[in-house]
Each structure stands twice: as structure tokens, then as C-alpha cells.
């Protein structure tokens, strides 16, 4: 599965990068590559079964933490 994900991301890079190089959009190429690598790493972690935190759980725990701090300070 990871190999498939890597292949998809490589294909996207091959599709997008030549046009950016041709137009000399170096900054665009750098940001695109950075975001692509970030998505690749996170996708690989996801498909390999690594338990990434749930967004809402983080917010709820943060809210509960703030609530506790306010309660103890009052």
C-alpha cells in the first residue's frame, strides 16, 4: 500500500514539476515539493497503521484543560 501511495505522489510530481521549471517558478516549486512531502509522510503513516491524533479529540481535550485551569484559579 505504501508503495502505491509513493507511486501516486511521484506521478503527481512528474506531472506538475516540469511546467513550474519551464516557467522558472522556483518558489512555487519549493512550496509544492514541501507540501507534497508533508502529505506523503502523513499518508504513509496513515496507511501503515500509525495512530495519528484525532483533530476533534485534541480540541476537546484542550477545551477541558482550559476549563480546569479556569476552575482552579477561581
Amino acid at each position: 500500500m505504501i508503495i502505491f501511495v509513493v507511486l501516486v505522489f511521484i506521478s503527481v510530481f512528474i506531472y506538475e514539476a516540469p511546467e513550474l521549471v519551464e516557467k522558472e517558478y522556483w518558489r512555487e516549486l519549493a512550496v509544492f515539493t514541501l507540501l507534497l512531502l508533508l502529505s506523503l509522510v502523513l499518508s504513509s503513516l496513515l496507511v501503515s497503521g500509525v495512530k495519528l491524533p484525532y483533530i476533534e479529540t485534541v480540541w476537546i481535550e484542550l477545551g477541558e484543560g482550559i476549563h480546569r485551569v479556569i476552575q482552579t484559579s477561581l
Binding site: R27, L35, L42, L46, I55, E56, T57
Partner: protein, 363 residues
Amino acid sequence: MDQGKISPWQLTLLVMSFTIGNWIVLPAGTEAWQNLWLIMILALGEGLVFAYLSLLLFRRFPGKTLFEIFALVFGSVGGKFLSLLFLWFFLQTGAAALMIFVTLLKTTIFTATPDMALLVPWMLIVIYGCRRGIEVIARSNEPLIIATIFLLFISVLLVLNIFDPANLLPLFNLPLSDALWISVGIAVFPFGQNVLFLMILPRVNRRQKVTGAVLKGMIGAGGYLLLIQFLTVGVVGKVGEIYVFPSYEFYRMIDIARVLTRLELIPLLNFMTMGFIKIMLCLYALAVGTAQVFNLRTYRPLVFPLGALLLIAAFRFAPSISQHLRFVEEVNPYFGLFYSVFLPLLTLGVALVRGWLRRRVTS
């Protein structure tokens, strides 16, 4: 950057679709159940006030996106920080709609289909549409919103034999403070999420009509959601409170002479079209916003990686729909108030004070 232009009418329709979005199947404030449709009128009023205040920003900085306004008001570093906060908001809004999309399909029709098989083709279409620009998004939205409104009017006729006005009672049995708090929750979700349009308004060809177009869209969407909620309560009654997707259950009950039955495809279709536009607009705002944060000349290459991030965020958004409901009830009002009211008002306030100080110094 995107050079496409949209008309004020197309903006109105986009605002309608974006607001209807996922609320159509998963309403907020269900604890008020029989009072919900009434509270929605109050929430719409509050939402319109919030939207008007945010639109004052656009009036003061015509032709600028929210991120450009941040840079002008707070400087480069402060502006980029606030822009990053809003990028997270766009990501989270899109991921929530995507998560509800997959949960609805998995719990109703495609119970044995893997999440990936539902989400990946969907995201590919969203990415494709987003790369084509705002003009294409607005044009593809037109037939979809017209179909959605048409299906609503058909629904009114279909439920005539099962609609019981007694189901709407009791009314006004909620403490005023609770009703007000629920109305604030609805004012920020779904109405307050329209703050995203501050990224799109410079693409409207007649800027003087922007305020009216946004407010009309919100009123249209509010009326649509109010009617759906009214029909749902009138058909399913008190028991609707316990359903996760009440409008889906209400369409299941439609039975016209045992010929027209199992019409639950209607809310699914409505959500798939409106949710599609909502996710596409979130991805568009995310891509254009990221391009502006990094001073890029085009947003198009960023759409795929950001779409992949949106997909990952949808997968890891909430462990269950019950936790999402808890989030909507307990956290979302604060979250929404911060993004939809506090940050735009803070920006407007700072811009006004800076303008006043500048005038004093020059005089």
C-alpha cells in the same frame, strides 16, 4: 493567481450551497429539537449581523482577500500568523464536511465499502474542479443548487400525507438562555463559516453588489434549512431528536400509495451536491490562501498536496460521529465565534484605529 470572475448572482448561489453544505443532513442544536426551526430564525439574524460586520472589512479594503487585509493591517509577520490560523480553519471546515460525507454513506448505503473507495474518487473530482478556478466552481454550482431547491419543493408535496402539525408541539419550552446559546452555535455554524468568502470576494465582477449578494445567499440558505427542519420535526416528531441524520430518516418515511417509497436518496443527493461545493470551496480557499502566504504567482500546483492533506484530516477528524456531535455542541460555538466574529472584528477595529491615527498625524 486565479483570474476568473464571478457575478454577484453566482456568489449568492455559492453562499447558499456553502451554507446548506453538511447542515442539511447533520443539523446543529438538536437538543432544542421542536424549537430548532424557530431558533434558526434568531440564528439567521445573528449570522447576518456577523456577516455584515465581516463585510465591512471588504468595503474598507476593496479588491483585497482576507489574507491581504491581514498583511496590510497587522504587518507581514502578524498577518502571516493570522493567515495560518485561517488556513487551519479552512482545512478543518473541509475535513469536517468530508468526514460527515463518508460517515453518512458508510452508515446508510455503502456499509461494506472501504472509506478509501468513497473518499479518493470524490477528492479527485474536487481537486480537478478546484484547479479549474472559481469561475468553473460557480458555474457547476448553478445546476446543483437549482436541483437542490427543486427537490425541496417536491419534498413539501411528498410529505403532505404524513406531516402532523401536532408533532411541532410543545414550543417555547426551552429556557431563554439555552435558546440564545443554541442560536449562537447555529449563527457560527453554518452561517458564520461564510467568513471563508472573504477569500473569494475580490473575484466578483461588480464589487458594489457584494454585500447584498452574500446576505441574500445567507437568507436563501437559512430559509431552505428552516423549511427542511420544519418538515423533519413535523414528520418524525419528538423521536427525531435521537437520530444522527434526522432528515435522512424523514425521507425514509415518505410513502405515496406504496409506489413512491424509500426516497432517502433525496437528502443524500442534496448533501452530495452541496457538500461537494462546500469541500471544493474550502480546498480553493486553502490553496489560494497558501499561495498568498508564500507570495506565489499560482495556486494550482498546491491543490493536489493540499487535497491530500484534506483527505488525511478527514480520516483523522473524529473517532466517531457521537464525538463530532459533542464537538459541535460544546466546542464549536467558541471555535466559530473566534474565527467568524472575533478575528474579523479585531482586524476591522485595528484598521479603523490605525486609519484614525494616520489622519491625526497628517493633520
